[in-house]
Amino acid sequence: MKTLNRWCVFALGLAQLWIAKTVGKAVVEHYAIPIPGPVIGMLLVFGVLLWLGRTPHVLSQAASPLLAHMNLLFIPAAVGLMGLGALLRDHGAGILASMLISTLLGLWACVRVYTFLKHRDQQVD
């Protein structure tokens, strides 16, 4: 009985997330915004939570397993690697170099700028 109850709560939470996603997609389509629907959906839910002043139990029950196992949801896209043999033979090394160097420099720049500004702000306060 308890397990059944938990599943119902989970399903209800999923339904709420789905509604937010669908509204997000409708907004994006209606206003022709170049941003994905789910991102808008996330901002919508954030706004609703700020307005409510708390997180409904149902919603957090559905969110936790999704967030904990997000990696599972990336696998279908990653398997797409198998269809790109020819292109990767010609340009794979260049693509990899470009991805690797820019990602590492970007990470480095990000934490440097953030840490610098945060310390400066704290000194001013």
Partner: protein, 231 residues
């Protein structure tokens, strides 16, 4: 959407492989090269090739997982809400670092791509690398990339950031969960966010927010940046 036998089999297979990959990853103390996305996809690619099955079939069968990814994206609002006070306090360094990192990221990707003499399609696809997959595909359509290449590049960038990011940040002496989340979310979107949640809940929430802002920023910035760089 039809829930066919194929759908059930391939999703069960993917989930099973993922569960084993996760066990392996945990037993190996989160060794970066055993990131579950890397090991699971390697196994599944081997299985598909072994069974002489096409990627298109697998992709169609596991469509439900991609749908769930959209719900997971919405779900990031919840940890974000828990971090609202910190968000108000830190928004200025947060936004400036995010914009700075995005510009460095895009410019370096372009320059290295040019130096490596990438063809136009590959170069445009690489430029979308740090935004979450659905946005990346949208932008790539605007600037002339290839959407299946984009999907792979985006995931690979995510993995590079999730694998090397925590190592680089630890070496640079960064322990602030906000900084870790910001860097992983900005440079490695959802895969980085998943990694950030494993490090610290605060890091995960900020990674999710950074991913969202980076997606918005890049879709506004990239088309004009491409005109500037190419012109």
């Amino acid at each position: 959407m039809v829930l066919s036998a194929q759908t059930a089999i391939w999703i069960a297979c993917t989930a099973g492989v993922y569960a084993l990959a996760l066990q392996l990853y945990r037993r190996a103390n989160s060794a970066p090269y055993l990131h579950p996305v890397v090991t699971s996809s390697a196994v599944i690619i081997a299985v598909l090739i072994g069974l002489n099955e096409t990627y298109a079939n697998f992709q169609a069968a596991t469509h439900l997982l991609s749908e769930a990814l959209e719900l997971a994206t919405v779900a990031i609002a919840i940890p974000l809400y828990h971090e609202r006070h910190r968000l108000v306090a830190l928004w200025r360094p947060f936004i400036i670092a995010l914009i700075g990192a995005t510009i460095v990221n895009l410019t370096v990707a372009f320059v290295v791509g040019k130096v490596c003499q990438l063809n136009q399609v590959s170069l445009m696809s690489v430029m979308t690398k740090s935004v979450t997959t659905p946005v990346a595909i949208g932008i790539s359509d605007l600037i002339g990339g290839d959407s299946s290449l984009v999907a792979v590049i985006v995931i690979s960038t995510g993995i590079i950031g999730a694998v090397l990011g925590p190592w680089l940040l630890r070496r640079s002496g960064v322990e602030d969960p906000v900084a870790i989340g910001l860097a992983l979310g900005t440079l490695s979107h959802g895969v980085g966010t998943a990694r950030a949640f494993q490090i610290h809940p605060t890091a995960g929430a900020f990674a999710g927010l950074s991913m969202a802002i980076c997606a918005i920023l890049t879709s506004l910035l990239l088309p004009s940046l491409m005109t500037a760089l190419l012109g």
